[in-house]
């Protein structure tokens, strides 16, 4: 017995475990505060598992058991099985096309009786493992475009299925795998051009494409004018300028409209545009008549999106410096914020515990992330490091987007707050993600392949 215990605790990063436990418990408290009505019998409800907080409590129990199993597993298991697991994940995702159930318009759930499983959530773990496995292979040279392409293929294959299942929000999460790839040597040029495209994308949302193309052309013309001496010496520069202009123009004029018309769901496009305060200009007549039966419906829909964000901002903003106190938030108790126990759980922290409470929670989250970065950097094996960066990237993406959407900095895409949002799928996924890392970290002296 003693031997076993010591082997569980040996080398484990207790700081990560504590941070995890604290955040999950804060989440439980918040879910409780959302659901609590003054005449509830707390203990009875807790063990009847009919309330959300009691169910989440149950999931927490399951998570602890699962975490213990993971910690007892040999770390070689995780380096040995990624390909298999990845294949299983992809298979599960394909299975949803057959046995999947539609929840909120996205056909990405597999009913398991006691809970609904979302393979795209689970697949994050498998993808992280598979990516780590691929990048840690001896014969992978990540500086070669071929390897980069394969790594990207591993990371983004689930995205394709996810988008096909109408689950764009979670698909976006997979872009966080760019972070470990960057750490492993992906040229920053990719990220820089990606970021420029991002800026261009935001600008495209704000201004009509024609005027943007004019602006781009003017910039290209001006740079040709100013660099004309250099251009005489270096013809290649002209090509680069023209190439950039062409890419920008195509992006603005073709790629973005295509993205909004064919890749994003109409409601997602609407959300993104409601973020920047514009009506969706990319509704062509065909989809308009298909989706919008009466002219009021579209307005009502965007109003509803705005309503969520507005209520979320009211709840957080009314918290003040110290908050209204536990169970004293009028917005939380009055059920003003829709989906408050899942995607908008942060609003109850903001309202009940104010700026101080929210900041402490942020410190816990970013402390957890920076700790994982620290843990990642002390790994001897690439596998563990890549996996650690994958975990931190996923957590970062979730936390940032989720918090930003509650405070009106990001569009509302259904992304949970790790460890806190109600839901077994989300909690179990993040628990597994984190505890595999802790298990791998315990063997950080070993070179795992």
């Amino acid at each position: 017995m003693y031997q076993k215990n010591s082997s569980i605790s040996k080398g484990k990063d207790w700081l990560l475990i504590w941070l995890y436990a604290i955040i999950v418990i804060i989440g439980l408290v918040c879910i409780f505060s959302v659901e609590y009505k003054s005449n509830d019998d707390f203990f009875r409800n807790l063990f009847e598992f009919k309330k959300n907080y009691s169910k989440q409590f149950l999931f927490f129990g399951i998570s602890i058991i699962l975490a213990t199993f993971i910690l007892l597993t040999d770390s070689k298991f995780f380096t040995a099985t990624p390909n298999l697991l990845y294949a299983l994940g992809i298979a599960l995702m394909l299975a949803t096309f057959v046995v999947g159930r539609a929840v909120n318009g996205s056909r990405s759930w597999i009913p398991l009786g006691f809970m609904n499983l979302q393979p795209v959530e689970l697949c994050k773990i498998f993808t992280a493992l598979a990516l780590a496995k691929y990048l840690s292979r001896n014969d992978t040279d990540f500086s070669k475009p071929r390897s980069q392409l394969i790594a990207a293929g591993i990371a983004f294959l689930p995205v394709v299925f996810s988008i096909l299942q109408n689950e764009t929000g979670l698909a976006l999460v997979y872009f966080s795998f760019l972070l470990p790839m960057y750490r492993e040597g992906l040229p920053p040029g990719y990220l820089v051009s990606g970021a420029s495209l991002g800026v261009l994308l935001v600008v495209t949302l704000l201004f009509p494409p024609t005027s943007l193309i004019i602006v781009l052309s003017v910039i290209a013309g001006l740079s040709i004018y100013f660099f004309k001496r250099k251009l005489k010496r270096n013809k290649g520069l002209l090509l680069i300028i023209l190439g950039l202009w062409l890419i920008g123009t195509l992006f603005v004029g073709v790629a973005v409209p295509f993205l909004f018309k064919h890749v994003f769901q109409k409601y997602q496009a609407d959300r993104i545009f409601s973020m920047v305060g514009r009506d969706n200009p990319f509704i062509d007549d065909a989809t308009a008549t298909l989706n919008v039966t009466d002219p009021g419906a579209k307005k009502a829909k965007t109003d509803k999106e705005n309503y969520n964000v507005k209520q979320s901002k009211i709840a957080i903003g009314s918290g003040g410096v110290l908050g209204k106190g536990f169970l004293k938030g009028t917005q939380t108790q009055g059920d003003f914020v829709p989906e408050q126990h899942t995607d908008f759980i942060f609003t109850s922290v903001g309202e009940n515990f104010g700026f101080v409470g929210s900041t402490i929670l942020m410190i816990l989250y970013f402390g957890l992330m920076l700790r994982i970065v620290f843990v990642a950097e002390r790994q001897r094996s690439t596998f563990s490091r890549v996996y650690a960066y994958s975990v931190v990237a996923i957590i970062f993406f979730h936390v940032t987007i989720n918090i930003c959407m509650t405070i009106g900095l990001a569009p509302v895409i259904g992304i949970t707050l790790p460890f806190m949002s109600y839901g077994g799928s989300s909690l179990l996924t993040f628990t597994i993600l984190l505890f595999i890392l802790i298990r791998l970290d315990a063997d950080r002296q070993m070179v795992l392949r």
């Binding site: 009211i314 903003g317 918290g319 003040g320 009028t330 009055g334 700026f355 942020m362 970065v373 405070i407």
Partner: protein
């Protein structure tokens, strides 16, 4: 290998830290800098509920509650919960059919949504309430009863004094901007409820509630630590004797007129009857609206408090005051005698002023038999008094006496809408006749209380208190004391004695002698009560509507007992015909007996009460007006027009607000009302719908009355 890209971990850390800072800065602006969200959250998440305290209770002089609070019920419905209740039973109890039922449910859903309670039937009558209460278990939880506090009048008397509550209108809100009234609140509209609104209303409390996303109130905010409790209104002790009031109302049934009785020692009003009146319960509870419309449309103006608002010529009751002035000015003595040979010829033979009893009279007998010639002579002597340089100055002196007696100005009593009456001044005559072109003959009729002089019943009662006290009065008032102190200084003016002119007791004794004679063997023997020495004076007031002479008003005023006056009283019966002694005197006699002896003795006297109560003296013009109204109500639209007109008149007569601009306002309103009444007149094509009571004739018409003469 891992060393190769080691520096990139710092880039990643930098990204994390900057994201952290972005979020924290955004949170800081949202939560600490911006206050907008706090306001929005309070707007939608909390509710400020005003808690209305119980209004103060009013007690009469024997500590009986005459105005208190009770509860009636509204039937509430939550449309979302009514599935499965037996609507037929409910419809039967409420006396409605299923179409009406459906209509009400639909309007409830439209107004308040189906999950919020709405009023299904407001202010249930006692009968419906009794039936519902037995069956309420059948209708739960979709229906429930909700309490609503209302005013209750245990004696069902004194409506015109106590007043009633009504919803505040925009005008009221304008005048009382900073007193915390909200639209939908109730405030005292007339009577004590209005004058003592501040005292009776108490202090409102505020409860803070949490509200949910469907606008339902859920919990107290922070268990009520921000709440302020409501403080009940202060109770008030009135000088009213409610039994006397009830008797007065009974005696004045089927008559137009008023009785006012005052305790001369304190100025406390013992009763203040205005007839016709209404049962105060009519204006509270279930059928208030119906009754109110009825009362408004009644041509006899039951909502009009004649005791303070109606002005009459005082008639012969005025002679007592002339006697006081004559004696005190020294122009006559108690032994001064005048003979009447049939009329007063002091002003030539144009229109002599008749006297009924020929003979020679001294002061006492002149009062006792109400001799016109005697008082015309007294007036002549007062105005031609050589002590004053001109008639102007002697009339000004006479006016001074009148003001000292409490006439010609508002007394300042504590029910609203008091009228000042009128005492003619030199300036008035200068204007009417030209400066220096008038002499006492122009107002000899004033000496006997006709013509330009106008008084309200409360002024006459006060004048009796003045005579009874031998030279002083306290402003008549209804409220003696306020439980917990007079915080607003409303009662201060009711503590001081008014004795502007010092007149010796001997003068009063002579007048008392004459007044005792009136009841003992003079014109007012009908007021006699065995065992009580009553001093009184009759009056028979001629009056006109336009140029048409109407039946006389009967006046009687007096006080008792002579030696230790406890009650000063006046009674007017409008258009009763006959003399003041005929109808007004016996009413006063019965009232004095009731007050001083606490009961009416003997069957004969009781029969007299019944007989007087049944006696119908309402003038024919009122019946004609009622007939016209009834025929008009068939055509709903014109009835509505009339109602509008009536409301206008009612506002006019009740006065807008208690201030000195009142009169100016009245002038404006009168002009407006003339415009308003014109189409009504045309509509009905009948003169008698003119609703101005003859007692408050406009100025021009008063002039035509000027030369009318009576005993």
């Amino acid at each position: 290998m891992s060393v190769f890209n080691q520096s990139r971990k710092n880039v990643i850390r930098l990204v994390f830290v900057s994201m952290f800072l972005i979020i924290v800065i955004r949170l800081f602006t949202l939560q600490v800098i911006t206050s907008k969200y706090k306001v929005l959250a309070d707007d939608q998440g909390t509710f400020r509920k005003v808690v209305y305290p119980d209004r103060g209770i009013v007690f009469d002089r024997k500590n009986k509650a005459i105005l208190q609070n009770t509860i009636i019920y509204d039937l509430m419905v939550v449309p979302a919960k009514i599935k499965g209740t037996d609507t037929t039973i409910l419809c039967n109890i409420l006396g409605i059919d299923t179409t009406e039922f459906r209509k009400r449910i639909i309007s409830a859903i439209i107004k308040n949504k189906s999950y919020r309670p709405s009023v299904f039937e407001a202010l249930l009558t006692e009968e419906k309430m009794a039936k519902l209460n037995e069956n309420m278990f059948r209708f739960a939880p979709g229906y429930y009863l909700q309490e609503r506090p209302v005013r209750d009048y245990p004696f069902d008397a004194g409506g015109n004094i106590l007043g009633y509550l009504s919803e505040v209108d925009t005008n009221f809100l304008k005048y009382h901007k900073d007193e915390g009234y909200l639209i939908g609140d109730y405030a005292g509209k007339t009577g004590l409820e209005r004058t003592y609104e501040k005292v009776l209303m108490g202090q409102r409390g505020i409860e803070f509630w949490k509200r949910d996303n469907k606008n339902r109130l859920t919990d107290r905010l922070e268990k009520g630590i921000y709440d302020t409790t409501a403080i009940a209104g202060q109770n008030m002790y009135s000088s009213i004797d409610i039994e006397l009031q009830a008797l007065g109302e009974k005696l004045m049934e089927n008559k137009l007129g008023s009785i006012v009785a005052v305790d001369p020692k304190t100025g406390g009003i013992l009763c203040m009857v205005s007839s016709p009146t209404y049962k105060p319960k009519f204006l509270t509870g279930a059928e208030r609206r119906k009754h109110y419309a009825n009362l408004l449309l009644n041509p006899a103006l039951p909502l009009f408090n004649r005791s303070v608002t109606a002005t009459y010529s005082p008639g012969s009751t005025f002679k007592t005051l002339q006697a006081l002035i004559g004696l005190h000015e020294g122009v006559i003595t108690t032994d001064f005698r005048v003979s009447c040979s049939g009329a007063f010829y002091g002003c030539g033979s144009g229109k002599p002023m008749k006297c009924l009893d020929r003979g020679t009279f001294d002061l006492r007998s002149a009062i006792t038999i109400s001799d016109n010639t005697y008082f015309a002579t007294v007036m002549q002597r007062v105005l031609t008094n050589p002590a004053y340089p001109s008639q102007d100055s002697s009339l000004a002196k006479w006016d001074k006496y009148m003001y000292a007696f409490g006439l010609g100005h508002k007394l300042g009593i504590d029910v609203p809408s008091e009228k000042p009456g009128n005492i003619p001044t030199p300036a008035y005559y200068d204007k009417a006749y030209g400066k220096g072109k008038w002499n006492y003959c122009n107002f000899r009729s004033v000496s006997i209380g006709q013509g330009e002089v106008n008084v309200t019943p409360i002024q006459v009662a006060n004048e009796m208190a003045y005579i009874a006290n031998k030279g002083w009065y306290i402003i008549p008032h209804l409220v003696d004391s306020i439980e917990g102190g007079d915080k607003f200084g409303l009662l201060t003016k009711y503590k001081e004695k008014h004795n502007a002119i010092d007149i010796p007791d001997s003068v009063f004794n002579a007048v008392h002698d004459g007044m005792e004679g009136v009841v003992d063997h003079g014109t007012g023997v009908a007021a006699k009560v065995p065992g009580i020495v009553i001093c009184g004076k009759t009056g028979t007031v001629e009056n006109y509507i336009g140029l048409v002479k109407q039946p006389n008003h009967a006046f009687f005023c007096g006080f008792a007992p002579r030696d230790n006056p406890k009650i000063a009283i006046m009674c007017v019966v409008e258009n009763s015909g006959r003399f003041g002694g005929t109808y007004a005197a016996p009413i006063v006699g019965l009232m004095i007996e009731q007050y001083l002896n606490d009961s009416i003795a003997g069957k004969a006297r009781h029969d007299r009460v019944e007989q007087l109560s049944k006696l119908n003296l309402i003038p024919a013009r009122i019946f004609r007006a009622i007939q016209t109204r009834d025929s008009l109500t068939h055509a709903k639209d014109s009835a509505y027009l009339i109602a509008k007109g009536y409301i206008k008149v009612l506002r006019d007569t009740m006065g807008m607000d208690q201030n000195d601009e009142d009169d100016a306002l009245d002038q404006i309103k009168k002009a407006k009302e003339d415009e308003k009444s014109a189409p009504v007149k045309k509509d009905s094509s009948n003169k008698s719908t003119k609703i101005n009571p003859d007692a408050i004739l406009p100025d021009e018409k008063r002039k035509q009355q000027r030369d009318s003469v009576s005993n």
